[in-house]
């Protein structure tokens, strides 16, 4: 491992639904559970608000990993939103694989408002995984960089 690798600080965006996962992240915070500062959370009303285009945009902008968190299937605040998420993301993930992006740069996780520990664990694991994958060079669009 080169020095550069060790210093690699991935950019990771986490889309969290307001009702479950964002609250789960809050609980992780108020319980003082640690996870890496690389993770930046974007609040959305429901995981189904996340357009696959947002995720592609995030990668174009140079993010190394994107994680989308919503309520557990069956527990969606809007009844069915996360079912749409599940279907859309399954397609997106196969598409990303098809175009040659490393497996695992996009992840979908269900985290409830009560699962602060799961949120922290998931983030620790995801960041670790992205660190192992290294920098996202395949989708990054230099023209999009400021």
């Amino acid at each position: 491992m080169s020095i550069d690798d060790r210093d690699f600080r991935p950019v990771i965006a986490a889309f969290c639904c307001n009702w479950c996962s964002y609250a789960g992240a809050d609980l992780a915070g108020s319980s003082r559970m640690k996870y890496p500062a690389e993770v930046k959370i974007i609040r959305v009303p429901c995981s189904c608000r996340v357009n696959p285009m947002f995720i592609l945009r995030t990668f174009e902008k140079g993010a190394d990993g994107v994680i989308l968190c919503g309520c557990h299937p069956g527990d969606c605040h809007y009844s069915t939103g996360n079912y749409y998420t599940r279907r859309r993301m399954a397609s997106l993930i196969s598409l990303m694989e098809f175009v040659g992006l490393e497996r695992g740069r996009v992840r979908v996780e269900w985290v409830s408002a009560a699962e602060g520990a799961k949120f922290a664990e998931t983030m620790n694991e995801f960041v670790e995984h992205i660190r192992a994958l290294g920098k996202n060079t395949r989708l990054e669009d230099l023209r999009c960089k400021n």
Partner: protein, 662 residues
């Protein structure tokens, strides 16, 4: 160009200890459009809010960003503050630099960098915010309480007393719940039925309360202030208006072998039955699964003996549809199944019982007439062993990881009552910890030890082995002496873990109320909003939210009622303006959005559209703002990108993404 103010909160040291607040202010001030940036120790305080208000007024701010705790905590506070200062409340964004930053990181540099990025994202978003106006909706001034135990009864009584109509839905033939099954209550030892029955009667007689027993919630639609609920009233096969409650049918019923649920299946009941003598309503139901008439067509004895002519075999389930402003979940608990705890021999010996079964054995109306005896041979036990934490505090996947909270106290109660009534019976309690945090609780437990001579052994039991002579060898450990001990007992009582009633899970999905990994309903905030669900208009009462004893349940039921009354007292509610809308120039009327909308909020209109000078009539999606809840499903489904969501627009979210990746 917006004129943006950024306000960075120290939250005492909660934020400032890990985030260099001044550097965040400095960095924010350099962002385009930011004309004002400052920090303050407590932004949510009156003085902090005054700072924000004066900055809005003095500098003519058009949008503000508050870098502070979670928006779930204080977004509403800062929106109100902005409104008071003349700024549209939806021109406020929060950067969560506490829960999502200072509290989870240790390194100051790292946390400060992250806080700056979160602030930038919020600034980028607020640039694209537009003033929004909240709409209004009506409030149906009636509440629904699901579950007719002490939690549901107390909540219903308190709401009814405030003058609002309440319906209680109870799945069993009578209200009363678990408390009706208890013999005595701690820490005063008063008789459970004696203090519960008057409340049941009061609820039944209250002009504002309707009780649907033998009924279940089937469907819930709508939202806070305007729920529509379908209630299935199971066919009772007895006419509630005609029945006089004489009980003759139950006496004459020839089918008597059904396990009696009220007595935890320790005894049997007739097929036509009321669960217990003080049942409310005092009208029996026919259990069709066990009724001879329904099974074979031959019998009809109850109909013959009923002088009031109340028996009606032709009744069928009925669906009642009603509107409610608020819904209270009070579905209570059951004890866990013990099939994964074979070491305690619950399935192998009749004399190993759960504490709830002991309640029935100790109760005068129970299967043994209140006489303490072994269920195997009817003999009086001489040596009794209680085992605590059976299935509670288990993180190995067999039981529940939480403490069931009530077991230490009811075990002390049982031990004390037995020693009081039968001084010759030796009582040993195996415990891991005795937990008695409650008024007069520890004193109560100590009385069991000091006054009643109950033998408390600190240690868990490893095996209960039935012996050929019918007794039970209990192998436990005594941690104070550091050794293994064995007691030959006549009866073993298991303080079995409690879990939410199985109906809670189904109900939670119907109500879109969140539920935790143990199936307890989640509260909106664990400390500050303990009786509200995160789903507006849904409230939590009793054990459905977490383990509780009776005093706590009653307090929570009252608190829950106060919240419901607060809601029903309003004539109208402001609605969330963060709703979807379609761009009529982009919409091609394909119906994709309407297909995914869970609220039926999208319809189509023929509209005259001027598309770059070309006039024509088009089919356009129209969102009903009163129905739209703002999930955003339609925005992603729309193939032409015509649908967008106010407050979380495509451009706003992309601005946040860009700011984070910068």
């Amino acid at each position: 160009m917006q004129k943006i103010g950024v306000f960075v909160c120290h939250c005492g040291t909660n934020i400032a200890a890990t985030v260099d607040v001044l550097r965040v202010v400095e960095a924010a001030a350099k962002e385009p459009g930011v004309v004002h940036a400052q920090d303050y120790p407590y932004m949510c305080s009156e003085a902090g809010q005054a700072l924000i208000a004066s900055a809005i007024r003095d500098k003519g701010l058009t949008g503000i960003v508050v870098c502070s705790c979670s928006p779930r905590m204080h977004e509403a506070t800062f929106r109100k503050c902005a409104e008071r200062a003349g700024l549209n409340p939806y021109m406020v964004e929060i950067a969560n630099i506490r829960e999502h930053c200072s509290w989870i990181h240790k390194d100051m540099e790292e946390a400060t960098q992250k806080a700056i990025i979160l602030a930038r994202a919020a600034i980028a978003k607020v640039h694209l915010n537009t003033p929004l106006a909240a709409g209004h909706s009506q409030v149906t001034k009636r509440a629904l309480v699901i579950g007719g135990g002490i939690a549901g009864i107390q909540t219903a009584l308190d709401i009814a007393e405030a003058g609002y109509p309440v319906d209680i839905v109870e799945k069993n033939p009578s209200i009363g719940g678990r408390m009706a099954q208890l013999d005595k209550t701690f820490p005063t030892l008063d008789c459970s039925a004696c203090i519960l029955t008057p409340k049941m009667v009061e609820a039944a007689a209250h002009p504002n309360i309707r009780i649907f027993t033998y009924s279940e919630v089937e469907r819930v639609t709508g939202f806070v202030g305007d729920f529509t609920v379908d209630i299935r009233k199971h066919a009772r096969s007895v006419d509630m208006d005609k029945c006089t409650g004489c009980g003759l049918c139950q006496e004459k019923c020839p089918s008597r072998k059904t396990p009696d649920e009220f007595n935890r299946a320790l005894g049997t009941r007739s097929a036509i039955y009321t669960p217990f003598a003080q049942a409310i309503p005092n009208v029996p139901v026919i259990d069709r699964e066990h009724c001879i008439k329904f099974k074979t067509g031959k019998c009809g004895l109850c109909q013959t003996v009923c002088a009031a002519g109340a028996i009606d075999y032709t009744q069928s389930d009925e669906i009642v549809s009603e509107k409610y402003g608020a819904i209270v979940v009070a579905t209570g608990f059951d004890t866990i199944k013990l099939d994964r705890f074979g070491e305690y021999a619950y399935d192998q010996s009749k004399d190993v019982i759960t504490s709830l079964e002991l309640e029935r054995i100790m109760n005068a109306a129970g299967p043994t007439g209140g006489h303490l005896e072994r269920l195997s041979d009817g003999r009086m036990p001489r040596e009794m062993v209680f085992i605590q934490c059976v299935g509670s505090r288990c993180s190995d996947g067999r039981g529940k990881s939480y403490c069931s909270k009530i077991c230490c106290m009811y075990t002390a109660k049982h031990a004390m009552l037995i020693r009081d009534k039968y001084p010759d019976v030796n009582v040993t309690v195996f415990y891991i910890d005795v937990r008695t945090p409650g008024k007069n609780f520890d004193e109560f437990y100590r009385r069991a030890v000091e006054q009643y001579g109950v033998n408390y052994i600190k240690g868990q039991v490893g095996k209960v082995a039935p012996l050929p002579d019918g007794r039970l060898r209990v192998s436990g450990s005594d941690l104070i002496d550091g050794k293994a001990v064995e007691i030959t007992a006549d009866m073993v009582v298991l303080a079995t873990a409690i879990e939410p009633d199985p109906s809670a899970r189904r109900l939670a999905s119907m109500l879109t109320a969140s539920i935790d990994t143990n199936d307890f309903l989640t509260e909106a905030h664990p400390k500050l909003r303990p009786v509200e669900s995160p789903t507006a208009g849904v409230y939590l009462s009793g054990v459905s939210q977490g383990p509780k004893d009776i005093p706590e349940t009653v307090s929570q039921a009252g608190a829950c009622a106060a919240k419901v009354i607060g809601l029903l007292a309003k004539d109208r509610l402001t609605t969330n303006p963060c709703t979807a809308h379609s761009d009529q120039l982009l919409c091609n009327g394909c119906s994709a959005c309407a297909n995914v909308c869970p609220y039926g909020a999208i319809s189509y209109e023929q509209r005259e559209v001027n598309d770059h000078g070309v006039r024509g009539e088009r089919r356009i999606a129209v969102v009903n703002n009163a129905l739209c809840q703002g999930c955003g499903a339609c925005t992603v489904t729309c193939p032409s990108g015509a649908m967008d969501l106010q407050g979380f627009s495509n451009r706003q979210l992309i601005a946040e993404v860009d700011a984070i990746c910068r």
